[in-house]
Point group: C2
Chain length 346, copies 2
């Protein structure tokens, strides 16, 4: 019997991390009698006097936000990392730990409390990309900062505790494991072929045209072959850029544009403000050269069947391998078909 | 400055997987304004005519459950893996997949729909351990089965779609990554020292007595130094057993006893039926020798502050490293103090 990817259980290989994921394409017909999430999506106001991210409001630590009118970033009042502190290694028998320094920042995407990325104008999203570039540069140049992790947790399902449009940046002295894995894989390909692993992959995907969700002149959005989350999407520049700071102005705008497109399709999928965690993986900032790095942004959304039924990454996934039912190809096809116009604006 | 583990942000090393986790002990005072889970815990009946796991009831595929009176296992009607199917490798440029064969089973822990492990008698839990042993043996001896993953998803928060006490077993032709990582680490220690990594670790923990939750003659339960989930617990035999089938009858009973103790403490923590995913990691069944393997059972519970506030493993955790706030030592101390008598039986 030969493997038919849309029929037989199989494992797929993630070329970026070197990890495998279990795909069970025959299992989509399983009925769901488990947990249903609430959809609480009332009308949101543009300014909420109780929101600690709205312009002019006072935060937990007593500081007052400026009356910002585009984007605004500040150091998290409850940072998981701190600039001062020990960085030494502790070892005692089989116990091993290491002091970790860093900075945690919050990035408000807009002064308007009621917005989300898909509902923002492309100009406004471009300002978000610009502040990501600035922060990556400034934080990355600090002593003892080897990695700048930009991410967004969107929606209460993803642990977001404030609906005001915002993301976070955690910059730290070590290179986190997810980044490390991708460095290793990209470097191996670079050494063997003298080319960017992700660029080669994007070219193969463009030839095949089976998993592409949308594209513009400078960027591609696709459901990667090894996607873990049901509607996972990867956005990457067509040209080889190790970091977001090297984008041209034109490319930066294309990036903003494709972010708007993907997140709009997401909202249109189940006519809901689609929850996800997104993150940008790029070149570490420890000062070494990383010519092999090709930056990209990934979206990990938990919803599976509807606005109320999500995929649970639990027992088997925690103890063995990640697992999915709908295939990457099915997910890409679904997303591709969806409109670029937000359902709220129709 | 020297690293104080209860004060400074740091990374800890997991000797079993070779991975790191970020610990932010200063961050426990962060207020929570995010999502609160529902606690739906009505009185449960001992027999539910609509439950497809209760004795004598008919399942989705038309089969009728026997009138079992202790434990009962059967092949999952919606298995993610299948016995028949291709096992070949597919490679095309940068796309790589492999057909995966396997068996998915459901194990009912008790005919009584209203129970959970902590509410069962030790005798009855011993029967659960016995069926795990049988299944591990029988499935492990099948052709093309290299790993037998026993696990339980407990509670709707963990994606469990039926409150009837049950777990699952997914047996498959590949060795999943989580098992692979632990093989590598244990083997390295075995080669270097000629001793079991986990046994050496348990001995160090017994000496230090800082993270032990409870123990009996044959088993220890502790919050591992590198715990990711707030109240993660690892249960391991004091003697070196690569797999659960080699336990003596006395040890098997001790295992049942400590499972009851740990899960009772869990329920007592927030006076709720405590959700978790648990799993048993043991020697792969591909026929090779694995003298280095020391079997253990882990519990990954999501709750953090109360029955309604869980830890979200989201943005930073997905893109960088797992992160926790309360330390392993604090969690162990809290669990240690809790009664062994279930709050419902008081
Ligand atoms: O098999 P179940 O109970 O229907 O499904 C549950 O456990 C599986 C194994 O961990 C997961 O893949 C599913 O996401 C989860 O909902
Ligand atoms: O920093 P926040 O938004 O309060 O917290 C959220 O994001 C963090 C980073 O992914 C996670 O560690 C928390 O579990 C989550 O609730």
């Amino acid at each position: 019997m030969t493997l038919e990817i849309n029929k037989h259980p199989h494992r797929r290989y993630n070329i970026l991390t070197g990890e495998w994921i279990l795909v069970s394409p025959h299992r989509t017909k399983r009925p769901w009698r488990g947990r249903q999430e609430d959809v609480v999506e009332g009308q949101k106001v543009s300014y909420d006097p109780n929101c600690y991210l709205c312009p002019g409001n006072v935060r937990a630590n007593g500081e007052k936000n400026p009356s910002y009118d585009t984007v605004f970033s500040f150091t998290n009042d409850f940072s998981a990392l701190q600039v001062d502190g020990p960085g030494n290694l502790f070892e005692e028998g089989l116990l091993k730990a290491k002091g970790e320094k860093g900075v945690c920042k919050v990035v408000c995407f807009s002064p308007d409390h009621s917005l989300t990325l898909p509902l923002m104008e492309i100009d406004a999203i471009e300002k978000v990309v610009a502040i990501w570039q600035d922060e990556y540069k400034v934080l990355g140049q600090m002593d003892d900062i080897s990695n700048v992790q930009i991410f967004e947790n969107k929606g209460s399902l993803m642990g977001c505790s404030n609906p005001h449009p915002h993301g976070q940046i955690w910059a730290q002295s070590s290179i986190p494991q997810e980044v490390e894995k991708k460095s290793t894989q990209q470097l191996a390909h670079w050494k063997e072929h003298g080319r960017s692993l992700l660029k080669d992959y994007l070219e193969q995907e463009m030839d095949l045209n089976e998993r592409i969700v949308c594209e513009n002149n400078d960027f591609i959005a696709l459901v990667p072959y090894w996607a873990v989350w049901p509607y996972e999407v990867l956005i990457a520049p067509k040209k080889h850029h190790p970091e977001i700071t090297s984008l041209s102005l034109k490319e930066r705008r294309s990036f903003a544009e494709i972010i708007k497109k993907v997140t709009t399709k997401y909202d249109n999928l189940f006519s809901t403000s689609f929850p996800y965690s997104s993150g940008i993986h790029q070149k570490p900032t420890d000062g070494k050269e990383y010519p092999e790095w090709h930056f990209h942004m990934s979206f990990y959304p938990p919803l599976l069947r509807s606005a109320t039924v999500k995929k649970f990454m639990v027992g088997y996934e925690m103890f063995a391998d990640p697992q999915r039912d709908i295939t990457a190809e099915q997910a890409a096809e679904t997303l591709r078909q969806l409109s670029d116009v937000h359902y709220r604006n129709k």
